[in-house]
């Protein structure tokens, strides 16, 4: 479809000055500091993708080193310590530094384009995620410089990685570096959720959004629920390793299996967190290259959502050999088998689409076909290991290594390559070589099987995973050599891809706006897209706007007048449209923040804090805290463009135009806070479950002499929690009415409530005289109390910001946003506080 035709008449009546001013408002900053001040999604996502791909190459090099070592029996190319570091870092890199960040980068780049909006809802958060991720990744890799790379496995089982058996810093690098990368991933996930639900082209109803967006929505929700247990788990592990607690120390009543549960509650959804986006990519590619819409959009969406739900119900199939009960094994076997069904629906959804379409076999489709074959084999071997008795042979053997490489390379890497061949012309403006693409595909496809197929056999011939060498004569020698040859062949395939990209950047043919005859909105923008995307707001009338609509403009639609100010506007600030979730009717305009270095500075602050945690260095910690706080202050300081937005929209208030959303359910910040509260709820569930899991141990619970404090203190604590939430509620209302006296009163009352809480907490803790370092009960209590204090600290920070606003500009609605969000957090804090009190003080009487 011709781009000119799609937008014909859109610019009518808009002056050139206006259009230029609009472009200026969205331009990324240049100059020396432009690099760190840029926050537009396109340049940030481009860097994000490059960084992710570099980590992919690094992880690949590690894999080649391992294959060299294992090519022959009793090889001495790598010693055991180095090998352990390499396999740990290979897994960690591919999982946390390549797949998740890379997918999020692709989503950050594409989603605004696919959804027809101008940027992500929280561009500063995007930038923060990017920088945090880069620093976290470099932090992890820096460990190689000291020869202290993590060596306890990407799954970091305890007690092997407790302080007693792993006293050096290797696994601290892992714990801390990983936490950094996880925080980045969760930030990006929060953003994806809000973007997909709230920032779409008008008319793109929930039943019209592209399947890739559906897939990313489910993925992002899974990241929120899945990564939280891992963050809680790694925090516990790090506390154990610092000698502060004993969650996982068996001698102190701790439970090694608690770690496995926390890890796999994350770890299994993680597999689908990586796979579901691939479902989205494949669905887009299959539709365009079959020249027809997907056969059943509804079934595909249902299958994606079902996969997301089911993936949380089968974590324990990673623990079939730990001695679970028969009931548990039967249940988790059933769950592991059931998840095959949504996958089957997806698989046949694509086949049916190809079947009834007119397939065009270009490189992207070739990679999709490779995906179908490889993932099919991986899925089938996955069903096999879902059967407990067989798993008892296959588990932790090379059979499993083969299985998950079929799933991950087949189910993630091949679709990603399909997506790259499909979308890179949009990103770079140039086509990749089709010929080189075919070579690239066939090399990767053939050598993939050469490398990984034999591992099924090696594993069932008895070769365990994670061994740095093996004796000759067990029947593994030739198979391992074949795998090594295959690995190098596969690497050659990846090198061909890199060569293709470099070639295309120099010599590739101009892509034009729409080289593939695509159906989604990104093909209506220039290649590469301008910083100022969607100068004109597209109006969508179906699932495949470019196939079904002759024009994308708002002309003649119900919303023509409503959207008029947004056509090539606003011009002095960055404005984007917010729609309602289901019907996608225009609801409000939001101010999108402009260039700022605050995210970069904050990421530096995080890095310092984490380095301080690693080295236990107080001065470094203080420096990191100061830097982070400075960045936080800058973040919440009003941007001049925000004031302009407020003035302009206020002037334009005539009842017939869109309001400017600043606070409350219409604003993005509100939804961001809601997602954050979901994270906290999940974390609370984790610490409470850990408490009860540990309580099942052999020792008395609570140990004699602790856990009973009488009624007065807990009752007082509960009353103070409720009071604080009520005061925050009142404060928010007072701010809204700009009642200065009431605000002051509320501040004093809050202060008193806070001090009261500190006093009660400290008294209770001292009366208990627990020793978390030597006793699992103390650790579990500390986990609950520590969680609550963390929530309170976040709340306190938000309240301080809200109060500063109230003090400086009591009438500014931007201050209300912070107060509004702080109020939400305070309601949560009260609830979680009551839960914690209940667990600590009531449960001993019930159990």
């Amino acid at each position: 479809m011709n781009r000119r035709a799609l937008w014909a008449g859109a610019a009518e009546g808009l002056s050139r000055e206006r259009r230029e001013a609009f472009a200026r408002a969205w331009a990324s900053p240049g100059g020396a500091f432009g690099l760190v001040r840029t926050i537009n999604n396109i340049p940030i996502a481009r860097r994000y993708m490059v960084a992710g791909f570099l980590f992919f190459l690094a992880g690949g090099v590690l894999a080649l080193l391992m294959r060299l070592q294992l090519g022959t029996p009793e090889n001495t190319f790598l010693d055991a310590e180095t090998y352990d570091q390499i396999f740990t870092m290979h897994g960690t890199t591919m999982m946390f530094l390549f797949v998740i960040p890379f997918i999020e980068a692709v989503a950050n780049y594409l989603l605004p384009l696919l959804l027809g909006t101008r940027d992500m809802p929280f561009p500063r958060l995007t930038a923060l995620s990017f920088w945090t991720y880069v620093f976290g990744g470099l932090f992890l890799y820096a460990s190689f410089l000291w020869g202290l790379a993590p060596d306890g496995g990407w799954f970091s089982y305890v007690p092997l990685n407790n302080r007693q058996y792993a006293p050096s810093l290797n696994m601290d690098f892992w714990d801390i570096g990983l936490s950094v990368a996880e925080v980045a991933a969760m930030g990006a996930a929060a953003e994806l959720i809000v973007a997909i639900l709230r920032m779409r082209a008008p008319g793109m109803r929930l039943d019209r959004i592209p399947l890739f967006a559906w897939a990313m929505l489910v993925t992002a929700v899974m990241i929120i629920f899945g990564f939280t247990p891992l963050i809680v788990g790694t925090a516990m592990l790090e506390l154990d390793r610092k000698g502060l607690t004993a969650f996982f120390v068996p001698e102190a009543g701790g439970e090694p299996l608690l770690w496995q549960h926390l890890f796999w509650v994350f770890g299994h959804p993680e597999v689908y967190i990586m796979f579901v986006p691939a479902v989205g990519i494949v669905s887009q590619v299959v539709q365009v290259f079959s020249r027809r819409p997907i056969v059943s959009y509804t079934l595909m969406v249902l299958a994606i959502v079902a996969t997301g739900f089911l993936s949380f119900g089968l974590w324990a199939h990673h623990m079939f050999t730990t001695g679970l009960s028969m009931v548990a094994m039967s249940f988790f076997t059933a769950a592991s088998l059931v998840i095959t069904i949504p996958n089957g629906i997806q698989m046949f959804g694509w086949i049916a689409t190809l079947w009834t379409g007119r397939p065009v076999l270009r490189t992207p489709l070739l990679f999709v076909l490779g995906f179908i074959v490889i993932f099919l084999l991986g899925g089938v071997s996955g069903v096999m290991v879902g059967a407990v008795p067989f798993d008892s042979q296959a588990h932790d053997s090379y059979f499993v290594v083969a299985h998950f490489h079929y799933v991950l390379i087949g189910g993630v890497v091949f679709p990603l390559f399909a997506g790259l061949y499909y979308w890179l012309p949009k990103v770079t403006g140039r086509m990749l070589s089709e010929r080189l693409g075919r070579w690239n595909f066939w090399t990767m496809f053939v050598f993939f099987h050469v490398a990984f197929f034999p591992m099924h056999v090696t594993g069932l011939l008895g070769m365990p995973r994670r061994v740095y060498t093996y004796p000759a004569g067990l029947g593994w020698d030739a198979l391992n050599l074949v795998s090594t040859i295959g690995a190098f062949g596969f690497a050659t395939g990846v090198a061909l891809f890199v060569a293709n990209v470099l070639w295309s950047l120099k010599r590739g043919a101009e892509a034009g706006d729409d080289p593939w005859g695509g159906d989604t909105l990104e093909w209506a923008e220039t290649s590469p897209p301008a910083d100022a995307q969607f100068e004109f707001i597209p109006v969508v009338r179906g699932r495949h706007p470019l196939w079904e609509q002759a024009s994308l403009t708002a002309r003649g639609s119900d919303w023509e007048a409503l959207l008029a100010p947004l056509q090539a506007g606003p011009t002095t600030w960055r404005g984007a449209l917010v729609v309602d979730v289901v019907e996608a009717r225009p609801r409000a305009v939001v101010h999108v923040p402009g260039p700022t270095a605050a995210p970069f500075v904050m990421a530096v602050g995080f890095l310092l804090v984490f380095a301080a945690a690693l080295l236990e260095h107080a001065l470094l910690l203080a420096a990191g805290a100061v830097v982070t706080l400075v960045a936080l202050g800058r973040w919440f300081w009003p941007q001049p463009s925000e004031s302009r937005a407020l003035r302009e929209v206020e002037q334009a208030t005539d009842g017939r135009s869109l309001p400017l959303a600043t606070a409350g359910p219409m604003a993005n910040g509100f939804w961001g806070t809601v997602v954050f509260l979901l994270v906290l709820t999940t974390a609370l569930a984790c610490v409470v479950s850990s408490y009860f899991y540990l309580s099942d141990g052999p020792a008395g619970w609570p140990p004699p002499g602790s856990g009973r404090t009488g009624v007065a203190l807990p009752a007082l604590a509960a009353a103070l929690l409720v009071a604080a939430a009520a005061i925050t509620w009142w404060l928010r209302r007072a701010l809204h009415r700009a009642a200065a006296g009431a605000v002051r009163l509320a501040v004093v009352a809050l202060l008193a409530a806070a001090l009261g809480q500190v006093a009660v907490s400290v008294t209770t803790w001292r009366r208990w005289s627990l020793e978390p370092a030597h006793d699992a009960y103390g650790s579990a209590v500390l986990g609950l109390v520590g969680f609550q204090w963390l929530v309170e600290a976040v709340l306190a920070t938000m309240l301080v910001i809200a109060l500063l606003w109230a003090w400086r500009r009591p009438r500014d609605p931007r201050g209300h946003a912070v107060a509004h969000n702080a109020a939400l957090v305070s309601y949560f804090a009260a609830t979680s506080g009551l839960v914690v009190l209940g667990v600590l003080h009531l449960s001993p009487y019930v159990w």
């Binding site: 310590e81 352990d84 007690p159 090694p256 020249r291 027809r292 819409p293 056969v295 059943s296 050999t321 001695g323 028969m326 076997t333 059931v338 069904i341 089957g344 997806q346 698989m347 046949f348 086949i351 190809l354 079947w355 009834t356 379409g357 007119r358 397939p359 076999l361 179908i372 074959v373 099919l376 084999l377 089938v380 069903v383 096999m384 059967a387 008795p389 798993d391 008892s392 042979q393 588990h395 053997s397 050469v450 056999v457 069932l460 011939l461 008895g462 365990p464 061994v467 740095y468 004569g473 067990l474 593994w476 020698d477 030739a478 198979l479 040859i485 295959g486 080289p515 593939w516 005859g517």
Partner: protein
């Protein structure tokens, strides 16, 4: 130089051949070559699943290829937008998706689930009463093996070798002294983890006399790769004789060199190793009472020869770096004496 090339050629031939060479399925640690009822049941399940999986894969790949070739190239890649939606094709397609993607898999999976539960039941440790109990404790990086004494008899303690009577159901109780390990003898049964603070139970039964190799299957630290063991299945009578032999205290040193060796042992080794019948009571390393009767040294790392034993004692860290046995400096004379003594521990 030539050997690797020949090996590479052989490997390529295998790869080119495609199918796995069935002759290569028998190995000392191969789950394809079951030697006991548990492993046999699992192998049957495996072959059944493999057959079903092969059919499924062939059908799906064939469908994909056919779907692709059916009307390939009917449209040039830059064709104008596709024709209006073909609702009839959508409807039929949806039905096909539900049938092939949900109904058929559900049937196959139900059959598989039933089969799984049946095999799970017959391979579970509690399925039948055991004839003999053995306790195995996993340690970084070796296995302590203990036969509890029945009727007041003293227990038998050994390391890295289990002996079991042929045709008898042997219950194995698994504990871990330090970190998590996993007990795996692929020819006899699947694996079971050893977890600190718990006792897990599995069972072994061998149909015929033989030596079956096992190995730790859970990453347990730097020498996880060299934490193997052997299960020796003996006919009933020979098993009883073996057990009686192991129950006896160590033989007294027979030569002057061996007597000197015992003195060296007591002075330099006894804080970690025990030898029943001597004052050596160490608990950190393996019990060495009948060391000379064992097949391997250092948990399956070396065959038990005089040369290997000498090398191992002289510097364990060269052979198994990171093992917890330190290098104990000995003079050549002390080493020779020690070897003379240890070789007599039949």
């Amino acid at each position: 130089m030539r050997a690797p090339i020949r090996r590479a050629a052989a490997a390529l031939a295998i790869a080119a051949g495609g199918a796995l060479p069935l002759g290569g399925c028998a190995g000392p640690q191969s789950a394809f070559a079951p030697a006991g009822p548990a492993a046999a049941h699992i192998a049957t399940l495996w072959w059944a699943m493999l057959a079903a999986a092969t059919v499924v894969c062939i059908v799906v790949v064939a469908a994909t290829v056919y779907a692709l070739l059916r009307r390939r190239g009917a449209a040039p890649p830059d064709a104008a937008s596709p024709a209006a939606r073909d609702e009839r094709a959508d409807e039929r397609g949806t039905r096909a998706i539900l049938l092939a993607g949900a109904v058929v898999p559900a049937l196959i999976l139900t059959a598989l689930y039933v089969a799984t539960l049946v095999v799970l039941r017959v391979t579970a440790p509690g399925a039948a009463p055991a004839d003999l109990v053995v306790e195995v404790e996993g340690r970084q990086y070796w296995w302590a093996v203990r036969y509890p004494g029945r009727d007041g008899a003293s227990p038998v303690v050994t390391a890295n070798e289990l002996h079991i009577p042929v045709g008898r159901r042997v219950e194995v109780r698994l504990r871990a002294a330090d970190v998590i390990h996993s007990f795996w003898v692929p020819r006899l049964h699947g694996k079971t983890d050893l977890i600190p603070g718990r006792v897990n139970v599995t069972w072994l039964q061998a149909d015929s006399a033989g030596v079956y190799r096992g190995q730790c299957a859970e990453f347990c630290g730097v020498q996880h790769a060299r934490m193997a063991f052997t299960v020796v299945a003996l006919p009933e009578a020979r098993f009883a004789a073996w057990l009686a032999g192991q129950r006896a205290p160590a033989p007294a040193p027979a030569s002057p060199a061996a007597r000197e060796g015992l003195a060296v042992f007591l002075a330099r080794c006894a804080s970690c190793h025990a030898i029943r019948g001597t004052p050596a009571r160490g608990r950190l390393g393996p019990d060495l009472t009948h060391l000379a009767s064992r097949r391997t040294l250092a948990a399956g790392t070396l065959s038990n020869t005089r040369g290997h034993l000498a090398g191992w004692i002289a510097n364990p860290q060269v052979i198994k770096r990171g093992a917890l046995m330190p290098r104990v400096p000995l003079t050549p004379r002390e080493l020779r004496a020690l070897l003379a003594y240890l070789e007599g521990l039949r």
